[in-house]
């Protein structure tokens, strides 16, 4: 998805890549351990530099270390970091800080109906491109007088043009025919109005792609009745959160969909819906599919396409095996059973030659 010209080639030393790994909280650590296990098994030439972020700490040291590490390596794989509600409002979400510090301006999520997964809707194939650094997530709030709080939503021409450009470019590169901008410009006339205007301007440069727009509440109604009508969708930050969660739910839930965050210089991969999954942590019941697929997106980004497709094929074959489905898909399979199955699937394809990789 990222325009190949703007991201520099990934750093490599001795033929091996170093990737920052942030375990996060909840199910993050165990699932990322499985990724490392799988990579070792497949002899993927990636070394992980593990950087922990303690969600209970108020110190900025962990965050600064993580950001430095990602700047150094250029690529990261992460679990979600919990935001502690008991800390004062000045304590900003760590996940948000990562995104804004590294200017990971595009959150890209591809929701597709997978074979073997029972859902209410068939043939869903939507790419969601969400502005990831401004909008409602600007973290600019103040209490004017006690009991009256203002929260500022910032929309800029620069970032709106940037994300629109990203969306249309991605649509063109992937042979997609239609881009829909999601907004609420009838109410937020200036803010969302500006966003919409920027999308229209960029659309003019892509005459082969159909551009239309839809109000966010109508969009959600359309998604639950006829999701097949959507192709590529582009939107500001908050609506992106709503739409990507709706779409992920439509194709089978948080355990299946991977997500990518791209900036000009860095890329960070995680699950699409960014859940910590605290209640199912360390019970060997979490669905590793989304995290494993996110690691494949990362491998593609590192131009290790051979490894990426090998692992992805094995994951998709495993997902279509109903008897291995984890609880979120209505089954009783365990996390490790799924990972074992992926490894067996890879093994059954025989030893890899250097041509294949």
């Amino acid at each position: 998805y990222p325009p190949l010209t703007t991201i520099p080639p990934p750093a490599k030393y001795g033929g091996r890549h170093t990737v920052t790994l942030i375990p996060g909280d909840g199910i993050g650590p165990e699932l990322l351990t499985h990724v490392r296990e799988l990579f070792r098994f497949c002899c993927v030439p990636v070394d992980f530099e593990i950087v922990s972020i303690d969600s209970k700490s108020t110190s900025d040291d962990d965050m600064n270390n993580a950001i430095t590490a990602i700047r150094r390596n250029g690529v990261a794989l992460k679990g979600n970091i919990e935001t502690n509600h008991n800390l004062p409002p000045s304590h900003i979400s760590r996940n948000n800080i990562l995104r804004t510090s590294l200017d990971l301006y595009a959150n890209v999520i591809h929701c597709q109906t997978l074979p073997g997964v029972r859902t209410r809707h068939r043939d869903v194939d939507i790419i969601i491109i969400r502005e990831n650094t401004e909008g409602e997530y600007s973290s600019l709030e103040h209490e004017n007088v006690p009991g009256v709080v203002e929260c500022l939503k910032i929309i800029t021409r620069k970032k709106s043009l940037r994300i629109a450009e990203y969306a249309f470019n991605a649509a063109r590169q992937n042979g997609r025919r239609r881009v829909t901008a999601v907004h609420k410009a009838n109410i937020m006339k200036l803010g969302d109005g500006l966003f919409l205007q920027c999308c229209k301007e960029v659309a003019a440069g892509y005459p082969e792609i159909t551009f239309d727009s839809m109000i966010v509440d109508n969009t959600t109604m359309q998604l639950v009745s006829k999701p097949q009508q959507f192709d590529v969708m582009v939107m500001p930050n908050l609506y992106g959160s709503v739409i990507s969660n709706v779409c992920a739910g439509l194709v089978g839930g948080p355990g299946l969909v991977p997500g990518a965050n791209y900036g000009k210089d860095y890329a960070v991969f995680e699950t699409a819906t960014r859940n910590t999954g605290k209640s199912i942590a360390n019970k060997n019941i979490a669905n590793p599919t989304a995290t494993l697929l996110a690691s494949c997106l990362m491998l593609d980004h590192l131009r290790l396409h051979g490894y990426a497709s090998m692992i992805r094929k094995a994951i998709l074959a495993t997902v279509s095996e109903t008897r291995l489905h984890t609880a979120d898909l209505g089954g009783q399979g365990t996390t490790s059973e799924v990972v074992q199955s992926v490894m067996r699937e890879i093994e059954s394809k025989g030893p890899r030659t250097s041509e294949q990789i």
Partner: protein, 330 residues
């Protein structure tokens, strides 16, 4: 107020059904189309306002907002005039009108006066726009109290506050805090909190896990439409707006459908179910149940349905069928 487009015909349908049910309602029709009052300020016509102040309860059909510059949104004007602070939408799956989702039975309660719809926006410098989301202690407390009282009065088991306090620490944090405080006074109702994105994720996978949802303006706007989509859309979803001083206006939230206006093709279900909500609000539960059952039975039977419900009957035929069933229940 009948409203525009298909408004008049569906209002007539509702009044006919109420007559057949012998509901003790006396209708006072008033036009609420905005007029320019003294001083040039847009307002609701005085006769309409006086009527509402007296009776406190209103039923409204769809209104079209003229595109003319300077003309305010009609809904916004009504909201401000009567301080309609709570928008309530019960979403119940309709047997006979199939959607991919069954057994939906939830209520969205949306704070309707502030939040992201404060209308306060400005261009800071060229190319940088700031939209202000306003959350106050007062409005948050008021909507939380309404939600818990609604739950109690309608025998609902739980209230879930929907928020994004992990990102909007101060604003949604305040909203959440007030919900938690109010929950303390309603120990008989279960209180939970859930992130907006998690609600969206779970809602499309299993809507049966939700009961009463309370939230600030924007999330409420999105979620109430999402839930309406689950049960079949705005043509079958009722809605009520609760105001200060006991005022309540019930309305259908679909559009004016100018393309079918006056052709006896409209579906009055949304307005009818809103009128049923109105009866319940007034304590007339028996009448409400009777009319609601007649409506659902007609839809379930599938013999007389308007086009949008999958049939090819006229609005008057659909209405007549419901009237017949209501009378048979006497």
């Amino acid at each position: 107020s009948s409203g525009d487009g298909i408004g008049p015909e569906i209002s007539t349908a509702v009044m006919k059904i109420f007559e057949a049910a012998k509901a003790p309602i006396q209708w006072e029709e008033r036009n609420v189309t905005a007029i320019k009052g003294p001083g040039g300020k847009w307002m609701i016509p005085t006769e309409a306002k006086d009527s509402m102040d007296k009776s406190k309860i209103g039923l409204k059909g769809p209104l079209k907002t003229p595109i003319a510059a300077g003309h305010p949104s009609m809904n916004l004007l009504l909201r401000k005039t009567f301080d309609l602070y709570a928008n309530v939408r019960p979403c119940v799956s309709i047997e006979g009108y199939k959607t991919p989702y069954t057994d939906v039975d939830l209520v969205t309660i949306r704070e309707n006066t502030e939040g992201e719809y404060s209308g306060i926006e400005h261009v800071i410098v060229d190319g940088v726009v700031q939209s202000i989301k306003l959350i106050t202690e007062e409005a948050s407390q008021r909507i939380a109290e309404y939600a818990f009282e609604y739950a109690r009065n309608n025998q609902r088991a739980s209230v879930t506050a929907v928020h994004k306090a992990n990102i909007m620490r101060m604003s949604d944090g305040l909203f959440l805090r007030k919900c938690r405080e109010v929950a303390e006074n309603f120990k008989d109702i279960k209180f939970t909190e859930m992130y907006l994105d998690t609600v969206c994720l779970n809602m499309v996978q299993d809507p049966t896990q939700f009961d009463v949802l309370v939230m600030p303006n924007l999330y409420g706007d999105i979620l109430s439409d999402l839930c309406a989509g689950l049960i079949g859309g705005l043509g079958v979803t009722p809605s009520g707006n609760i105001g200060a001083n006991g005022v309540a206006i019930f309305e259908s939230v679909h559009g004016t459908a100018p393309d079918i206006a006056g052709k006896d093709l409209a579906n009055p279900t949304a307005l009818l179910l809103s009128a049923v909500m109105m009866l319940r609000h007034m304590g007339l539960h028996g009448q409400a149940k009777k009319i609601e059952t007649a409506c659902f039975d007609t839809i379930r039977d599938k013999k007389v349905l308007t086009k949008d419900l999958g049939g090819n009957s006229k609005c008057s035929e659909f209405t007549g069928e419901i009237c017949r069933r209501v009378q048979d229940m006497e």
